[in-house]
Amino acid sequence: MNFDEIKGSWDKEGSENVNIPGSISQLKRANHPVDQIKKNMKFELYGQILFILAVPFLTHLYFDSRLQTFFLGFYAVFVLISAYYFYNFYLFYKQTTRYSTSSKDSLYELYYNLRLNIERYKSFGFLLIPFVIGTLAMVLINKSEHLNLDKMALFGNFKVYLIATIASIVIYIALIVFWVELVYGKYARQIGEILHELKEEN
């Protein structure tokens, strides 16, 4: 194959089919996979924020005033930790990928930001576990007090509760990992493969 010949044709190649718009507003919205991931994560996060905000209203009906105070303290800690995650997600959404650096730098930046946020996203999902367990425990205690049930009878099936809880946690963690890797991990893996292409060859 003669590259000089191709180079000659390459230099002469026209670009008449490329229309530069009269203004930036005429362009479609960013459709890059990274922007899509950010958009998807943002929508899911809105749902999570709504859920967190709805929790005190839903649980309000269940608890008596003594447990209510205890629950609100527990809830406040959860909200504070969630706020840290939300702030970091916000920074990720606002972040612009730098494409003007070398390909290797640009890919590494993209890869590590994606991986970091995928892991953050997973750990935020895991954060719900102690909160849900704590809330359910309070619901059970509250229920036993209201119905004047024997607490020992309530916790008599402790082993069953424990096994059911552990199984639910394992299934929940597996679902989060599966979902996040399926939806967001695929792109990170593709970037990882391209980075591999840039490794030194002898």
């Binding site: 590259f3 180079k7 026209g14 930036i24 612009t96 003007s100 730098d105 890919l107 840039l198």
Partner: protein, 178 residues
Amino acid sequence: MILNETQTISSMRTMETEFLSSLEKHKGILHKVARMYMDGEADCEDLRQEIIIQLWKSYQTYKGESAFSTWMYRVPINTAITFFKKKKKLVTTFSPEVFPEQEVEEYDSSKDKQMELFYKAVHQLKPIEKAIIFYLLEGLSYREIGKNLGISEGNARVKLNRTKEKLQMLLKNKDYEF
């Protein structure tokens, strides 16, 4: 306050006009990058639009740390490398069997046959290999190719030679040698 806002809008418009006129001069880069990375006019158009968006985002913070031409190469190439289309597999292995035979039969005589065949072969390359061939044809030295990719000059040389051999093989296997 209102005066400041008016000045900001006016300076943004000036910047946008400057940007679009620079882009008009370099639109050949957009055309070639899109043709190398995408198959089909609709996908090419999507990628060109995406490149313009990323160029514009980058232009607003471009402070001239690198030459305009370097910047004008890097942003389109880095955008194209990471722009994966859904439902299309990323070609990660060399497979001459997947060479689209049917499309060659539908060759349009008005187009440059050599370049048509060249682009078809290029579509079988991996994203970094495409970038290497692009830089080679744009006349960049090994050093510049290495710098733009973020690899050493020696590594750029090795990769370029292997990519050229691969491209040659792709064309040869289907009697497309020229």
